[in-house]
Every structure is written in C-alpha cells, then in structure tokens.
C-alpha cells in the first residue's frame, strides 16, 4: 500500500513535470490574448457625422450621412456618443413622396432614416463655427449634452463629412466654407487638449483628398472619395423620388459596412479597397502617415463600432503596463517641456517701462 502511494505520487509529479511546459505555454497564450485585448489604446468611441448641404437636390448627401449613422449605431455606438449634423431635412421635405423616409437604395429597399434617428444639429445650426466648436470643445455652457463631443484622451473618433467641396475647402450650407487648414488646426487643438486617442476622417466630396492634405497632428487616418481635380459622382437616381439617392463612394462603403458585425476582424486595408476606380469612377485616396499603428492591425470596429470586449478566462495573469503606444506619444511632448525654461506671466501693464519712456520723451522735447 505504501508502494502505491509512492507510485501515485511519483506519477503525479511526473505528470506535473510533463504538463509544466504546456502550462507555461497556456499562460503565455493568455498573456498574448491579454496583450491583444489592449492592443488599441482606446476605451470609448465617438462619431461626428456631418452633412453640409441643403436643398432637395442634395438629398444624396443626407442619405450618405444617414447611412454611416445607421452603420455606426448598429455596430454599437450609442446616440449619446454620436453628434449627427444634417443641414436639411429631407425626410419631412414637402417634395418627399414618402415622408419620414430617406432611401439609400432605389426601389425603396433601404430606409436609412429609420425609426430612432436622433439629429443633434439640424438645418441652419450646421455651420462652420458650430462644427469647429463641437470638435474643439469650446462650447457655451448652455449647450445640451447631446450637442457636445465629450471625448477624452482614450476616445477613438470617427469624423465623416459629405457635401459639396473643392480644392481645399468644403462648402457649408451654400453660404460659407471650411478650409483644409482650419480643419487641420482644429484637429491640432483636439490633440493638444487630448480630446482623442485616434481619429479616422472620411470625406465624400469632390476633390476630397485636398481636405486631408494639411493634417499635421499625430494619430489621424484619413480617407477621401476622390483626388484633387476629380469629382465624386452620385450613384443612382430614383425616378419615384426624382433625385439621386446616394454618392458612389459612400454607397460602396455602406455595402461594405453592412457586412461588418461587432465581432468581425476586418481591418482598415479592406476599407481602403472598398471602391475601386471601376465602381467609383473617381480615385479614392487615403492617408496613414500620421497614424502610429499599421492599418492592417486596425480593426474596422475600432472606429465604426463600440465594442465591449469580454474575454472569459480561467487562468490568472499578471498585467504588464501598457506597451509603447501611449508612452511614445507623450514622450516627445515631455522632452520639449523640459528643455524650455519655466514660464512666467508677462506683465500686462509695464508701468516702469512706460514711465521711463515718457520721461525720455519729455527730455527730448525739452520740457
């Protein structure tokens, strides 16, 4: 009997010895998974969707914006985290033969207006000033919460803009425009105020690529529907409604997004290929040089969805501090700060200097 005990003990030890490498392998797998868990540095998602043109014949711009809104909402971003700006009301326009609907596919296949759309900035409230205030957060304190972009430094923000544009500008409401320089400066303000972690900027206008030419803040990825000198074209007219329903680029982006679900692992490189020249007639462009991560590691749902990641594990694991993504972004700023001398307030009214100057002047005059 003692022999069996010894034998069982030995067998257990042997089993334990044999299983040890497997255990460590499993442990490293868990750590890899944990690593993946925090791969992207964001904890919340926001979306700012802007349609800048009004009038009935610009129906397609509203339909564009609403289709992105629909996808973004479906993939998990709640209305409280979406700022939707529509410059005109197409659903309730007297010319709409089907009131309270906005269709994206002809023959009324898909109503992107839906039942629970929540428009934050509507009609004449969509102005350049309001847009920039939303982005930079310089908003009067009386603004309701639904009209604010309350993002922090762990937010991934999707910004989608559509309308009529040209080389270096985007037209708002037929009366004003925003230039690419203003936009780039607004993003820089957002960066300095730590209002985003990563930003995806999509624009569907004529000559859209000119709008992202001037960006200079880190962690921005940009897509546009056409290059400078090209027009973005509309997709299909609907004879029942009497207008063009969608623009080509956004139509194919919508079709692409309809395939995405919160668990999909599709990455940004697929989004870059979504509309080849044969379908879009214009040449879509993108810009990733300001972005830290490789686009193939960036999931679509990092920007278009708000994915609550849940992983069930039975092992324990020790968490390492986050990898270099965050540190590298702040390191440069810190170094710059150390080199500068400490700041002090400038004198608002240098009295001594004024008196000195005055006395000098009097002497010269001969008083």
């Amino acid at each position: 009997m003692v022999d069996t005990c010894f034998l069982s003990q030995g067998l257990t030890t042997l089993a334990g010895l044999l299983l040890l490498p497997f255990g460590s392998l499993a442990a490293s797998q868990i750590e890899d998974q944990a690593e993946q868990f925090f791969r992207s540095g964001h904890t919340n998602n926001w979306a700012v969707l802007v349609c800048t043109s009004r009038f009935w014949f610009n129906y397609r711009h509203v339909a564009n914006t609403l289709s992105v809104y629909r996808s973004v909402k479906r993939l998990g971003i709640p209305d409280s985290h979406i700022v939707l700006m529509l410059a005109d009301d197409m659903a309730c326009n007297p010319r709409n033969p089907k009131p309270a609907t906005v269709y994206s596919h002809k023959n009324m296949e898909l109503n992107v207006y839906g039942d629970d759309v929540e428009v934050d900035y509507r009609s004449y409230e969509v102005t350049v000033e309001n847009f920039l205030r939303v982005l930079t957060g310089r908003i009067p304190s009386s603004t309701p919460r639904s009209k604010r972009l309350l993002s922090d430094d762990r937010s991934n923000i999707l910004i989608y803009m559509t309308g009529h544009g040209g080389n270096g500008f985007l037209k708002f409401q037929d009366s004003e425009e925003i230039t690419n320089i203003e936009l780039a400066d607004a993003f820089e303000q957002m960066w300095q105020k730590r209002r985003y972690n990563e930003l995806l900027f999509i624009i569907d206008t004529c000559q859209g690529a000119s709008m992202y030419e001037r960006f200079y803040s880190p962690n921005i990825m940009a897509l546009a529907s056409s290059q400078v000198g090209e027009d973005s074209l509309s997709h299909q007219p609907d004879p029942a409604v009497g207008v063009h329903l969608m623009d080509r680029y956004t139509f194919y982006v919508l079709e692409f997004l309809e395939e995405i679900n919160p668990a999909s692992q599709t990455n940004m490189n697929d989004l870059f290929q979504v509309c080849p020249k044969s379908l879009c007639v214009s040449t879509p462009g993108h810009r990733t040089d300001l972005f830290q991560r490789d686009p193939k590691n960036v999931l679509i749902t990092d920007f278009f969805g708000s994915v609550r990641k849940v992983e069930i594990t039975t092992e324990t694991l020790s968490l390492q501090p986050d990898s270099g993504v965050i540190e590298s972004s702040y390191k440069k700023d810190q170094m710059v700060e150390e080199l500068m001398e400490p700041l002090k307030y400038a004198e608002q009214l240098p009295v001594a200097q004024i008196i000195h100057q005055w006395s000098c002047m009097n002497v010269r005059v001969g008083l």
Binding site: W56, F57, P94, R95, P97, P99, P237, P239, G242, V243
Partner: protein, 573 residues
C-alpha cells in the same frame, strides 16, 4: 507729336479713312448679314442643356393614366358650353370643387377701342374660373399655373378636360411643395390679362376686373395649353411673348427633355427638328426657323397666353397640340404625362428660373444661340452707321482746314470752343484762348485728343459737364469749325435763334450776347442743358454749316468755365 495731334498725319489719316470708308461699310454690312445667317450652323449654335441644378438630370416617373376621364370631361364641357353659349362657369366650379380644388371666379370687362369712335364701343366681358390646389405640407409661398385659354372661336375643350383630369391626379399626390393654380380664362388673352393684373394688383391695360378672392403666392412658372382635338400628332411649343420677351431657356429645356423621354414629336414654329446636319437641308431649315422666330419676336404680339405672363417675370410657355396627317398619334395620356413630368420637375425649384439665358434665338428645338453670339451681327450693322458718321466728320474736317475763324464773339464770355488754337498750337493753348472768344470755331485741332486735355484744364466744378462733353466729343468731334468762318459776325447775331432739329427750344439770356441754346437734347445727354451755346449760323447757310455747328457744340460745355485763363488764344493764321 502723336499720330492724332500732328496735323499732317491727321490729315493723312483722314484721307485714308475717307478712301477706305465705302469698302469698310459694305464689308461690315455683309459681315453682319453673313454672321446672322451663320447663326443657324453648328459652330455658332449650341445644344441646349439644363442649367438649373434643382431641375437636374434626374427623371421622374409619371403616373398619369386618366385619359378617359379627360375625354369625358371634355365632352361635358363642350356640351355645357354649347348650351350656355359662353364659358359654363357653374359647371366648371362644380367640377373643380369635386376634384378637390379651392375654386374662385373673377369677372372682368373691357371696352375695346375699336371698331371705331363714332359707334358704341364694343364691350367685352367674361368670367375667369380658377382652382387652387394647395400644397399639402408646405406654406403657400410659391405657385405654378396651368392655364387653358378659352375663346369664342377656339373652344379648347380637350385642354379643359385634360386640365381637370390632371388636377384630379395631382390632388392625390403629396409631394407638392408649391400650390398649383388651374386657370380657365374667357376671351383668350383678355381674360388672362385680367387675371394677371388682378393677381399682381396692377392695372396697366385699363381693364375693369373684380379683385381676386383667392391667391397662392408668387408664381414661379406657367404653362398654357391649347388642344384642338383629343389626339395629337405633335406638340408645338411657342416661346415668343409680348414685345418679343422670352421665357428662361431652362423652361424650354425642360419641355424638350420630356419630349425626348416620352417619345413625343415636338415642333418649334411648326417645324420638326432638322435631322440631317450634313447636307444643306438641316442648316436651311434652321435658318428658316431662326428667321421665323425673329419675325415673331419683332411683331411684338404675344403668340399665346404665356406671352402675358412674361411681363410679370413668370416664365411661361404655350403648348399647342397639332393634329395633322401623320400615322402616329398621341392621346391625352401622353400629353398629360409630359405635363405631369414638367410640373413635378418645376416643383423641385427653389428659386425662380434664372440660371439659363433670357435672350436667345432658336434655330431648332434642341439648339440655341445666346445673345452674346447674335449681338455681333447687329453690331456689324450698326458699325456701318458709325463709319458713315466718321466719314462725314472727316469730310467736314477736311473741308474746314482752310478758312480760319476770325473775330470775337460780340457777346461777352461766351462759351466758346476751346480748341481754337490754330493748327500749330496744342490744345492747351486752345483752352487758354477759349475766353477770348468769339466764334473760335473749333478749328483745326482734331477733337480726338482734346477731351483729356480739356478736362485737365477745367476747374473741378465743371467736371460733370466736362465729362459729358468728353463723351460727346468722342462721338461728335468738336473740333469742327464753322465753314462759314467768313460769315462769323453775321452768324453770331446775338439773340438769333435758329431752329435746330432736336433742340428742344432755347432759352435766350438777355444779359448775354448770345442766344443760349439748350444742349443736345437727345436722350442721354445729361447736364448739357444748362450751358450756354453759341447761336447757330443762319438757317440759310446750308446744311453743312448747320451740321458743323451742331457738331461743334460737343466741346462747348467744357469751355464755359475756362474763361479765366489769361493767355491769349488764337494762333491764327
């Protein structure tokens, strides 16, 4: 010296101009005619295109199918009309109300100025009936009009039937953003004018009409419909309106796109589209169409009820259904669909039609010539007049080089042409010498270079007159001198008033030695009337001196103030 201030060169230039003038005139005239005829050919004509964004390139599908209803309504209308002899107002009101419109009537009457004064004047009176379809979801700020003019000779009953059927169809749609007014007028254009005047609250033709009870906002566009029978072989479109005014070309483009879409045969001036542009037939036909349009515009008549709408800046067309001997006939449904499509597209408008041309000529329905391209033809023809005037001036100038002016004006400080200096002096001296007066007939110095130099010598107060004068000087060179130079003393008899063609009377200034004549009193000669001008030579001296004196007045306003200069003038020969 410069080309024009050097008298020798100037004379050479004058002779050159005189020699070349006749060929240039002929050439210009021929160029004008040729340009006009060339307007019908492809390089100068352009294809029509829709300029208005809101009415863009998308088509709408038409769903009108109530052809039978239209025909039965037309039959009823004819029957009632025959019974009552005039427009069956009660029946129309009832039918419109049953279709769902707000119905109003308007009575009007007009005393026609003919046949003649002696007999009792012919009184025309009638009643217009109109129904308003209110836009279901929009404020009634804008409206469209579909009008069917009914006259005693042209009953237009099929058009009334179609209009009522269309009204019933439109009433069932919810996509109207503008009100639609369905108007039936009596006595054709008289009724239309009465309605329009009452709608816009003006009275330009002296019509007595009752005020309108129902109104629908600013009218954006109107279509007048005339159908002679219930099947049509082609639709003729008429654009020329009152006084030759035309609707915006976009309205015609809209009609043309629906013609193409529905496969309707559409004509302009009763002519089909020229198909064959390679041989001579196509261009010849388009020249004919172009000339017909020019003639119709020139006649000034409104060639349809639409012509009266244009005066109120309401773009309007008349569509006439023609039933001729052709195999393929279109029924009322096809016409109704075209109208439905047009109205639906007009519904998309946000502003008045303003993007496309207001002045154009149409060699064919799908081609147009804009004013920028047909104006040069008229310009060439007017150039002939300008060349002739230049020739005349040069002739007078040549004739007047010899004799010199002499003496002073008997009166004091007359306005005299400053350009007196003799041939050798520059204009500045002429300015100075202006005050020494007399009929310093604008002598030898050419007027062409004068204006700016004259202007520089003027006190600022005179600037207005000077500017005017400069303008005139360029046009009618002032440097003419009166060929009757020898007659000066007699020709400047103080107080003599010479009737001058175009002068609107003269104001004699007793205190002065000269009769003051008003300035060129033609239109556009502002500011000259207050200036005193020398008396014209005696009427008997002949037309040429008279003309010369007239032309001389161009510079005279300028000189009025230049009297303070001490230097003496007249380097005369």
């Amino acid at each position: 010296m410069g080309l024009l201030s050097d008298p020798v060169r100037r004379r050479a230039l004058a002779r050159l101009v005189l020699r070349l003038n006749a060929p240039l005139c002929v050439l210009s005239y021929v160029a004008g005619i040729a340009w006009f005829l060339a307007l019908a050919f492809p390089p100068l004509t352009q294809r029509t295109y829709m300029s208005e964004n809101a009415m863009g390139s998308t088509m709408v599908e038409e769903q009108f199918a109530a052809g039978d209803r239209a025909r039965s309504l037309a039959r009823d209308f004819t029957a009632h009309r025959r019974k009552s002899g005039a427009l069956p107002v009660a029946w129309l009101e009832r039918t419109m109300r049953s279709v769902g419109l707000e119905v109003y009537t308007q009575s009007f009457s007009r005393k026609l100025p003919f046949p003649d004064e002696t007999h009792e004047r012919y009184m025309v009176s009638g009643i217009n009936v109109y129904g308003i379809l209110r836009a279901p979801r929009a404020a009634s700020t804008e409206s469209l009009v579909l009008t069917v003019p009914c006259g005693p000779d042209s009953t237009n009953s099929q058009a009334v039937g179609l209009m009522l059927a269309l009204a019933a169809h439109f009433r069932g749609q919810i996509y109207w953003a503008k009100d639609i007014i369905f108007l039936v007028t009596e006595h054709d254009l008289l009724g239309t004018e009465a309605w329009l005047e009452a709608y816009h609250d003006v009275n330009v033709t002296g019509m007595q009409s009752s005020p309108l009870q129902g109104r629908a906002g600013a009218i954006q566009a109107a279509v007048a419909l005339e159908l002679s029978s219930d099947v049509v072989t082609s639709l003729d479109v008429v654009v020329e309106g009152l006084n030759g005014q035309l609707p915006n070309l976009d309205l015609l483009n809209l009609f043309q796109t629906f013609c193409q879409k529905g496969g309707l045969l559409c004509t302009l001036q009763g002519k089909l589209q020229p198909q064959d542009w390679t041989s001579i037939d196509g261009p010849l036909q388009s020249v004919q169409t172009l000339l017909l349009m020019v003639l119709q515009q020139a006649s000034g008549r409104p060639h349809g009820a639409h012509g009266l709408f244009l005066r109120y800046r309401v773009e309007a067309l008349t569509l006439r259904g023609i039933n001729s001997f052709r195999q393929y006939k279109y029924d009322l449904v096809a016409v109704g669909k075209a109208l439905e499509g047009m109205f639906r597209k007009l519904n998309h408008l946000l502003e008045r039609l303003h993007q496309s041309f207001f002045f154009y000529l149409l060699p064919a329905l799908s081609r147009f010539v804009s004013i920028g391209l047909y104006m040069p033809a008229a310009g060439f023809l007017l150039l002939v007049l300008g060349l002739k005037a230049l020739e005349l001036w040069m002739q007078l100038h040549e004739a007047g080089v010899g004799p010199e002016e002499a003496g002073k004006t008997p009166g004091s400080s007359p306005p005299h042409p400053p350009t007196q200096g003799g041939e050798h002096t520059g204009p500045r001296q002429g300015l100075d010498g202006a005050e020494t007066g007399g009929p310093h007939l604008p002598g030898t110095t050419a007027g062409l270079h004068h204006p700016h130099q004259l202007l520089s010598g003027l006190p600022t107060g005179r600037q207005h007159g000077a500017c005017c004068c400069r303008h005139q000087a360029l046009w009618t060179p002032a440097a003419l001198h009166c060929p009757a130079g020898a007659d000066e003393p007699s020709s400047y008899t103080p107080g003599q008033l010479v009737p001058v063609a175009g002068a609107s009377g003269s104001t004699a200034l007793p205190g002065r030695g000269l009769a003051a004549l008003p300035g060129r009193t033609g239109p556009g000669r502002a500011g000259a009337s207050h200036l005193r001008l020398p008396a014209l030579p005696a009427a008997g001296s002949g037309p040429l001196p008279l003309l010369a004196a007239l032309l001389e007045r161009a510079l005279l306003e300028v000189t009025e103030a230049a009297r303070s200069s001490p230097r003496s003038l007249l380097p005369r020969k």
